[in-house]
């Protein structure tokens, strides 16, 4: 895949990558026939940001048709955000003539070539990629029945009503108006926080089509990032959503590129028990390579059959199907991926969700003298299995043969 981005659009790419870096740590780059897509997910898979750069964004976009005909319809690769962010960070101190992206299918590296306007200086960055994975996001951004559209300046003015410390925003949407709040009506009040409510009429928006009235609560941070990006390029912001609990999409459109911020939501009035972690966006990350020569078939089967819940106390009463699916796909990654960088190995562990509640200890009031022993931690059980040999008597005849000296330890 070869793509040349002209100078003016390099700024767009730089800001896009800055916005993506605020959300996730890994960047998926997929090259399709008619566009290049940059995607990132946040840690808990509750936010998915996609930047679709169309053919017209590039001054030249070439993709090898033969490579597209395989199982997936795109050429994709995954890279650490930390690797690519410094290249495009910082203000546009040096004007660039163009930026060229080169990627050969199944290659370990992606090449960024930048040409600076002054002095004809050409800089070439060869960046190492992470294990190749392809990402399928199973959400359509315009699946919802409610649609609102307004300019970016309108939304950024709305944001000034909320403070920087607010994490979530709740929209109570009806056919004629919407109330935006940074708190949930009826929830216990946190002291030292200012509760804000902004009432907006349908007429203040360019498009306000509500088929289904609802209350929807979602994270403010990605929303802010989207609005900042839209404001720098004066784009209109469209929000497409269903009811609280279904994902909300912030859509920014431009003739040469399209941006989707898909954010998981809650209905604050009916889902008070569940947490954001259980409403993750269904995504599937899979490795196209099936065989891993480093792990034998027996080991693969053993890994699949290990019951990981022995180690981790997964005692969450409400576990969503989507959550389980994402956990399971995380385990498939462990089996199938080539074990290369330690960094990637560290990231796999993050797919687990840690227990929220600790089981309370019951104290028997009648026998205060006799204290029950603390429950044996699952780790200790596993440790005894692994270090089993250490718990056996120090000498075992069958292994070594004759006894040279009797046991001197008193057990």
């Amino acid at each position: 895949m070869d793509g040349i981005i002209p100078g003016a659009n390099v700024k767009v790419l730089a800001r896009a990558i800055n916005a993506l870096a605020k959300i996730g740590d890994d960047l998926f780059i997929e090259a399709k026939k008619e566009m290049l897509t940059l995607t990132t997910l946040n840690l808990r898979k509750t936010i998915c940001v996609r930047y679709h750069l169309l053919n017209s964004f590039f001054s030249s976009y070439e993709i090898d048709e033969n490579e597209l005909t395989q199982q997936s319809r795109d050429i994709s690769c995954k890279i650490h955000m930390k690797t690519v962010l410094p290249l495009l960070k910082g203000g546009s101190s040096r004007e660039k003539d163009f930026l060229k992206l080169e990627y050969e299918n199944n290659s370990d590296v992606i090449i960024f070539k930048m040409k600076f306007k002054c002095d004809d200086i050409l800089m070439k960055h060869t960046l190492r990629l992470m294990d190749t994975e392809s990402l399928t996001v199973e959400i359509k951004p315009d699946a919802g029945c409610n649609n609102i559209l307004a300019s970016s300046s309108f939304f950024s003015q709305l944001l000034t009503m909320f403070s920087n410390t607010d994490d979530e925003i709740t929209l109570e949407v009806s056919k004629e108006k919407v109330a935006a709040r940074n708190y949930i009506v009826g929830a216990p009040v946190r002291s030292k926080s200012v509760r804000s409510q902004v009432n907006l009429n349908a007429s203040e928006f360019s498009i306000f089509q509500i088929s289904c009235e609802t209350s929807i609560n979602f994270a403010l941070r990605p929303f802010r990032t989207a609005i900042q990006f839209a404001e720098s390029f004066n784009l209109n912001i469209g929000i497409n959503f269903d009811v609280g609990g279904k994902p909300l999409a912030v859509i920014l459109k431009n003739p040469t590129f399209e941006v989707n911020f898909i954010i998981a939501t809650l209905n604050p009035y009916s889902d008070l028990q569940s947490s954001m972690a259980t409403t993750s966006i269904p995504t599937k990350v899979s490795n196209p390579k099936n065989d891993d020569p480093n792990i034998t078939v027996e080991d693969q089967e053993a890994l699949l059959n290990v019951n990981w819940s022995e180690d981790f106390d997964m005692s969450e009463p409400t576990s969503d199907k989507a959550d389980e699916r994402s956990k399971r796909s995380g385990f498939q990654e462990v089996v199938k991926n080539k074990n290369t960088e330690a960094k990637v190995a560290g990231k796999r562990c993050k797919d687990f969700s840690l227990p929220v509640d600790n089981l309370p200890m019951e104290v028997d009031h009648e026998d205060m003298d006799v204290l029950p022993p603390s429950p044996e931690s699952p780790r200790a059980k596993k440790a005894k299995l692994v270090f089993g040999r250490c718990f056996e008597p120090t000498f075992s005849e069958t292994y070594l043969g004759q006894v040279l000296a009797p046991n001197s330890d008193s057990e």
Binding site: H80, K82, T83, P86, L87, G90, S93, R94, V109, C118, D119, D120, I121, L122, M123, K124, H125, T126, L127, R128
Partner: protein, 262 residues
């Protein structure tokens, strides 16, 4: 009285000394031509700042002997900033005899405040015979500081090492940084507008630890021009010219290269 000098408008001196103050102690050498402040790091990096005598409003030095003293550079930098950004202070430095403290008198013109400081000095044992400038005699290139700073900052993608190649054949000047993220490379032609001087006898490639180059980037932001010279042994010399309102001061930075076994 071994040495006595007065200076006003020393904001730039303070900025430069603060940027090079990576070690605690520095060696001050008042010479006929000006004051030289030297820092040495593990014998593989040497930084020197020259404040020429014409930057001072008053400069007197005893002719009899070489004056060398060691002071805490961090303390000196803090004293230079004692009035902060406002005011136009006047600084008077005096050094009476070997072993006596370095006296600084700072006068704030508008507010009539005088600060009297004494910094304890130490003896300096080693005397280095060789001149590093003479060792970097192979290749030399003078380039605009702002471009070089920009390129080095862009190459700095958590890089571990930087490789410098100067050659009489194209591409003339190449910088390549390698790190865990990947590699970055940039070429500058000798005919480019930012390059003022290009003298190259033979092709030389040498590698340096990027951490050491990062240390000098801070000072480079104040400079107008940088002269890069390399020697046969791989020693890299960077001479920076820092100008402020027609007064110039200089910073020299010498780094030894990484040994690459054949």
């Amino acid at each position: 009285m071994l040495f006595c000098a007065e200076i006003t408008d020393f904001k730039i001196v303070h900025n430069v000394l603060r940027s090079i103050a990576i070690k605690d102690f520095a060696i001050l050498r008042p010479m006929e031509e000006g004051l030289k402040v030297t820092l040495d790091d593990m014998k593989c990096v040497e930084t020197s700042a020259y404040i020429p005598c014409n930057m001072f409003s008053f400069y007197r030095i005893s002719e009899k002997e070489d004056i060398v003293l060691k002071v805490s550079l961090k303390t000196l930098v803090e004293i230079l900033n004692i009035f902060g950004d406002d005011g136009n202070p006047n600084l008077k430095l005096t050094y009476n005899s070997p072993g006596s403290p370095l006296c600084l008198v700072m006068k704030h013109k508008d507010e009539n405040i005088t600060v009297d400081c004494e910094i304890r000095t130490m003896n300096v044992d080693e005397t280095r015979a060789l001149s590093l400038a003479d060792e970097c005699d192979l290749n030399k290139i003078v380039i605009n500081a702002s471009i070089l700073v920009d390129l080095l900052q862009r190459l700095d993608n958590f890089a571990d090492e930087i490789t410098l190649t100067i050659s009489p054949d194209p591409p003339y000047f190449t910088l390549k940084a390698t790190g865990i993220g990947g590699e970055s490379e940039v070429n500058i032609s000798k005919n480019s507008e930012s390059v003022t001087v290009f003298q190259c006898i033979k092709t030389l490639t040498s590698q340096y630890s990027f951490n050491l180059i990062r240390q000098i980037l801070k000072v480079m932001t104040y400079a107008n021009k940088v002269a890069i010279s390399t020697g046969e042994s791989g020693l890299l010399g960077l001479q920076l010219v820092i100008s402020s309102e027609e007064r110039h001061m200089y910073v020299e930075y010498y780094v030894t290269s990484i040994f690459i076994p054949e």
